[in-house]
Symmetry: D2
Subunit: 355 residues, 4 copies
């Protein structure tokens, strides 16, 4: 880290900082300018001490140089992480591009099964659907809870689609992990560290949505919480950040996708539905996400958006979803990738016998 002392900082303050850094085991370089002293401290592998130094008298600014995440960093695993969810469903750099689709919330058995069949038909290789729903208002539909999980299990049995569903509290991680193939951490919970630790220990891949006010660095630190628990099956998901613009529900930050690809080895997906909040904008943003380098998409589909108990305005009908998937093809080709698809048992067996 770099410590800039205030212009005219007292000599004893400068010396106190140097002494402390040396005591902490840092290698110290002092640059004495006309106006101020700047101190370089090498050895700050964790950035933990920056605040302490910043609180010392005469210190104007402490600038950390190292990125604070370690295991989430690209150089920790230069080749890129691949998350295998099911046969044929491996999410990561250079792999096929997968689409997670389904309703915002599981509302009923029929709604879910109908949607599951439809999105599989349309080209999705994973099914989404919230059994536990974090809602801004206590008066909004809060999800069917364990009943919703049952329906998800049934939808999976019916279609074979692996299931992505949200965990909203650490105490639910085990229950949800019994049904889900991928545990989703929602945007509002990205900073719920107890939850991050719990899914880190639940033994299932995790889809970590970016917090609506989280910087890229904070997002990667949230991933680090999961990695530290020994779970490396983490998929990031950009879903829009909060800005002053109000035509869209959030502002989709596609440059974050490219940035994360550079900074980290973790796969990144994009959710254009929550990002825009408007059905109309989902297809162009899905295409743009592919072009930006995303490893997959998460799209809300509802058989009847105007009856949806949440997020109707941003949900595609099955027909709109089919159309989108078709339109995505040339963009997949443009990035040299294919639409990932679930392999059924017969295929899996035959591929095993060949190998």
């Amino acid at each position: 880290m770099i410590i800039a002392m205030e212009p005219g900082a007292e000599r004893e303050h400068v010396e106190a900082v140097i002494k402390r850094l040396q005591q902490e085991g840092f290698q110290v370089h002092i640059s004495q300018g006309v106006e101020r002293t700047v101190i370089g401290a090498i050895g700050d592998r964790t950035r933990l001490k920056a605040d302490m130094v910043a609180a010392m008298p005469g210190v104007e600014k402490v600038v950390p140089i190292l990125q604070p995440y370690k295991m989430a960093a690209r150089d920790f695993k230069p080749e890129g992480t691949k998350v295998e969810v099911a046969p044929g469903v491996t999410i990561g750099e250079g792999e096929d591009i997968h689409i997670i689709a389904g309703p915002c919330a599981v509302e009923s058995r029929q709604q879910l099964l109908e949607t599951a069949v439809a999105v599989k038909e349309g080209g999705a290789s994973l099914l989404r659907g919230g059994a536990y729903k974090p809602r801004t208002s206590p008066y909004s539909f809060q999800g069917l809870a364990s009943k919703g999980l049952e329906y998800l299990a049934e939808a999976k049995a019916l279609t074979g689609l692996p299931v992505v569903t949200e965990v909203v509290d650490a105490s639910l991680a085990q229950e949800v992990a019994q049904v889900a193939d991928v545990l989703q951490i929602g945007s509002r919970n990205m900073h719920n560290f107890a939850l991050l630790k719990a899914v880190g220990r639940a033994g299932k891949p995790v889809l970590l949505k970016r917090g609506l006010a989280a910087t890229i660095e904070e997002w990667l630190l949230a991933a680090e919480y999961i990695l530290v628990e020994g779970n490396f099956q983490v998929i990031l998901c950009e879903r829009g950040i909060r800005t002053f613009e109000n035509y869209t529900r959030n502002t989709l930050d596609l440059s974050a996708v490219a940035a994360v690809k550079h900074l980290s080895h973790l796969p990144v997906m994009v959710d254009p539905s929550h990002a825009t909040g408007r059905r109309l904008l989902v297809p162009p943003m899905a295409k743009a996400a592919i072009a930006a380098g995303a490893d997959g998409l998460m799209v809300e589909v509802h058989p009847n958006p105007q009856e949806a108990l949440s997020d109707g305005p941003q949900s595609l009908t099955p027909e709109e979803f089919y159309k989108l998937v078709k339109e995505l093809k040339p963009f997949l080709e443009a990035v040299g990738r294919r639409l990932g698809r679930l392999r059924d048992e017969a295929e899996v067996r035959s591929s095993l016998s060949r190998s």
Copy 2:
């Protein structure tokens, strides 16, 4: 709610909307303009249906008119809620102004006891200190956990100061409630609805910090989650929102204090330490908070900020804290209020015998 149809929306789409609204029991008023039809729907007490209507074909925009929170609204309790934490420590409109002070985190028995004695001496009537700490990085100090709670209990026994400490997960609500007099919900957990429900049922007053990207409406809805559980002892706390400005850690939104006083009956405190992230800015913002109408302050104090395991740069030393409290006096007088102070047992007894 108001439904604006698209210009040139088809007749059947307009009629479908009207029909649906009537079926849902709304009283419907149709305004036929030159360019478009606008439909007023009276009876939307919950705003739950707005999304469904917004998802119907031909609908351009749905504008809710009613505020979505009910029990947190000013007209639910026009006289203002007062939260009694301890004898002499009642927080609310027209009451004395209380200061919560203490370290960001409980770091050791000595650090906490020393700080507790100092802040009481200085004029605080509540002690803060995190036993469980939500930290952006998994490598940062995460708090002493139950050991930290023990020290808080000891500090309370020593000084008599009621204790405010954070609950970071629903599963900890009961444990923390055994020691804490006020359960704090931190900014990053304002949208952790499982936690909000848990503290709603824990039988203790709650200090609800505003989420760093939460609108005032969302903040009041988070309070509503607690109120709905039957717990009306909720104190709001503004602590800065995230903006593009980076000189300060957050941007303190003091207009939110005045706005909340208008919109809600709940007391509001201000935390100038987290809001600014700079010791230098804490005193002017503390004064401004009082002037803006806050019912109290929450200030970080550390006996030795440069050794603090978190938030050193924004922590006041005990001496700085004493100075601040002294300087606050004329501002308290200007708003016609006094510095609240804890009454000790003798006083309580004597006041009881008088009454």
Copy 3:
């Protein structure tokens, strides 16, 4: 517009609002709910009166329904505006996709001519380069001014490339218009209304960058200022908005591209260089912009970014630019469009003789 009265507003206040609306020629619909009165006023073609009504006693909220821009709105010209800059260089919906490339600032004759030749070679059909530069610091390079315009004229004579350059003050509009084929309004000047009016009267196409804190509505209103002056040759340019994220210079809002396509008939380009501020992110964002439906790109190219007097870190070298243009091809095909290119005189003549 819709006027929501406060709950319990006095009868005389409600009546005053109604009376006033009627006097202003509005058709008024009254909806009397249990808690409050909501008034619909039809005929508000300009939204001018909303503030006046909002200031009346008893009024809680005024919600405008109509969009405030008229000539910039899609329904004003459903078929889409096409801006013809030069033979072969027509920018707009369904047309070829054009690339504006060149240095941030004109720094010297050699730098500009060299870059101009290079970007033409690489596939650009318009040349950018600032002669007048708006710079945050008075100590930064402010541009070569009229000398810079001379060099731009020379570069145009040499390569045939039409020139896009910024006007930073109304008084310069005429001078710049003598050299420029497209007048650029920079992000910081999007709300400089005197300048908007001046370029509206300058008789040249205008490239209107989105203000860094401007909503889509405000951006279209800025376009409206130009349209109102009779100049319909307006090209919008998204270049990132200011948010809390600091890894990128700005946050590129590609959903705004799709939104503007829906709301307006004006062409939209994207500047991934200013949006991201990082060379590394320019190619993926250029591709994503095409996928999102942009009608063109504006890319900074410098023969030697590390000597650039401004914006070096986000400038591509000519080689990187060539590579990008090559990589764009499949994305252009995916959206069913081609790279636009300038036609030279011989082609123009031959095409004229054919027609």
Copy 4:
């Protein structure tokens, strides 16, 4: 400045950076860590070269240490600038606190004169009123232009109040300066550098509003543009920044007031009217501004807000203004200051004869 090389940057890249820095006259200190090389460069008095170095291969990040403004910095003039506008009206640190009041826009002779008399009566010592108005929509009232200036001159003759009015284009600086005692730069023009230079040369004090998306550093750099022209009579004015919160028109950033007091010697005023956009919030924010250390207030007053051609909802009536000024008194006392007031000719003469 500090240059962090990428982890594993090539030796030749590191050497190229060092060589270049030395050629530019920097004193260079190299810190060789395990993972990366960090280079400290002393002598970067202008920060101009940071971008060039950032564009060199192998460079990860360049961190400027010096603040980029010089003449606006506190250490340039530690004692604080005082701007004398008229006898008795000196704005600055330790001086009396002045209130600028008046309508948003000059709408008519009568409206202005009536308001001028009222605000003087109420305690204002400067009159505000826009003759030229920057408006988001071309269809909104754009001001009375030179007729408005005439009325302002008349109002000044009538009441003696010095006049503050906005310059919206460089070409108008001279005309406005003939009437105005203080030239206002509006928020949307804070980055209009041609205008900043023009008012820097106009020979009148300048009230520089903070841009709605400007950081404190950018705001001080805008001031620097004026100072560089030789005009040191600059008053800063905080008026709210743009954030995601939409209950208020902007978010008033009072910590910026305290920050600017620390970073700069220039006086700072606060405009609670534009900051909040709601009449209701003006009084509490005016009080908070005083408590935060502001040197003055700018408040919108209109004799009949519901007829105001702009900003009615945030304008106080004269009666509300009187009430506010009265209520401010204890807060002025709390900060040890008094309400500034214009001295009339007799007072001035008598004070001169005494001295």
